[in-house]
């Protein structure tokens, strides 16, 4: 029997957290669109494109044991998703003027659906999730590069 050392265990747990965060985010996203019938705007779709594959990438990195190369594959997606979410959040907050936004048809990217506690919008939740992922992945990168 190979005795898994403590560091590998912690790394596995961190990656598991990443996977859990991504899965919960994807689930909430699908809940909004399929159950609550919130139509996703163009920017939401870009973020979903960066988000959904991470479920499978992280899951693949968890088995049979923690695989550090998962960081390399997941980071570009999380950073791209985070930047899109940041742009979307700023657009939504009105800091970037709406007339330069790419969604002229269909649902407006500044359409208000829900705001938790009065200010947490859907793009903001997305931004929090992607930021947390980037942070977790950078921590993992540091821990494994020694």
């Amino acid at each position: 029997m190979i005795q898994p050392d403590k560091t590998t265990n912690t790394n596995w747990t961190l990656l598991f957290l990443c996977w859990l965060l991504v899965s919960v985010s994807a689930m909430i996203s699908i809940f909004f669109s399929s159950v609550l019938d919130y139509v996703p705007c163009v920017l939401c779709w870009y973020q979903r494109i960066f988000l959904f594959p991470l479920i499978f990438i992280f899951a693949a990195g968890l088995f049979p044991t923690f695989d550090r190369s998962v960081i390399k594959y997941a980071l570009p997606l999380t950073i791209a998703g985070g930047l899109t979410a940041l742009y979307h959040t700023l657009l939504y907050a009105g800091i970037i003027p709406e007339n330069i936004q790419p969604c002229s048809q269909g649902v407006s990217c500044t359409e208000k659906y829900i705001e938790l506690f009065g200010f947490v919008s859907i793009p903001m939740m997305s931004f929090f999730a992607f930021s947390a992922l980037v942070t977790l992945l950078i921590i993992l990168k540091r821990r494994t590069s020694k």
Partner: protein
């Protein structure tokens, strides 16, 4: 151990999703039930075209659009259910022309109603949809070619369709669409109960359950 943890988490997430959506849909159904009791007019306006006996105890309210492909697919299905339960179901049509330009076809349909050819015209429109509304590429001029099949006076329709009374009907229906949160067409309510998941089977079951409740054997 690891596999079990990830597997169980997956199951928990899926379960949470299913329970969450069921809970939400039940809440919605209750809300609509309350609306139906409080304000039946939201579902059936005086101007709404209806089909079936006035004594029917099951009201099938359909939010539709003559240019909607799925509405055309559902039309014969709804007719069949009504034919199978004579006198028990009343169909109420409401308009939800979501796409740009779709309201023009509602206007044509309402203008045909002035000539007493409402259901004939709707039938022709649904059957020839691929000619004039193929993939939301609306070509009203092609509709004029096929409409004589319904026995209507085209020139009269062209005049009548701009009647402000028709625009008012659409406006009222769209306001109710918003209140009732209808997002897609066809949108069905059976005695105020919304169709929770979309599909012919689900619609059939919902109508059947109302029939069973209202006409106990």
């Amino acid at each position: 151990m690891k596999y079990a943890l990830v597997g169980v988490t997956c199951l928990v997430l899926i379960l949470a999703f299913v329970l969450g959506s069921n809970y939400y849909k039940d809440q919605q159904a209750q809300k609509y039930g309350f609306m139906a009791a409080e304000n039946a007019k939201l579902f059936v306006r005086d101007h709404s075209p209806t089909l079936g006996s006035d004594d029917a105890k099951v009201y099938l309210v359909e939010f539709m659009d003559p240019a909607c492909e799925t509405c055309a697919v559902f039309a014969p299905f709804v007719k069949k259910i009504m034919a199978d339960n004579p006198g028990k179901i009343k169909l109420v049509l409401r308009y939800a022309p979501f796409h740009d330009g779709a309201d023009n076809f509602v206007k044509i349909l309402e203008a045909a109603r002035m000539q007493g050819k409402y259901w004939e015209t709707l039938d022709v429109m649904f059957k020839t949809q691929n000619i004039w509304a193929s993939h939301h590429n609306y070509q009203p001029e092609r509709l004029w070619e096929v409409l004589p099949g319904a026995g209507v006076d085209i020139e009269q329709i062209k005049k009548d369709m701009h009647d402000p009374a028709i625009a008012k009907i659409i406006e009222q229906d769209m306001a109710d669409v918003k209140t009732l949160n209808v997002q897609k067409t066809p949108g069905y309510f059976v005695n105020g109960k919304p169709l929770k998941t979309f599909g012919q089977k689900q619609l059939y079951q919902l109508i059947q359950s109302e029939l069973d409740a209202k006409y106990r054997k």
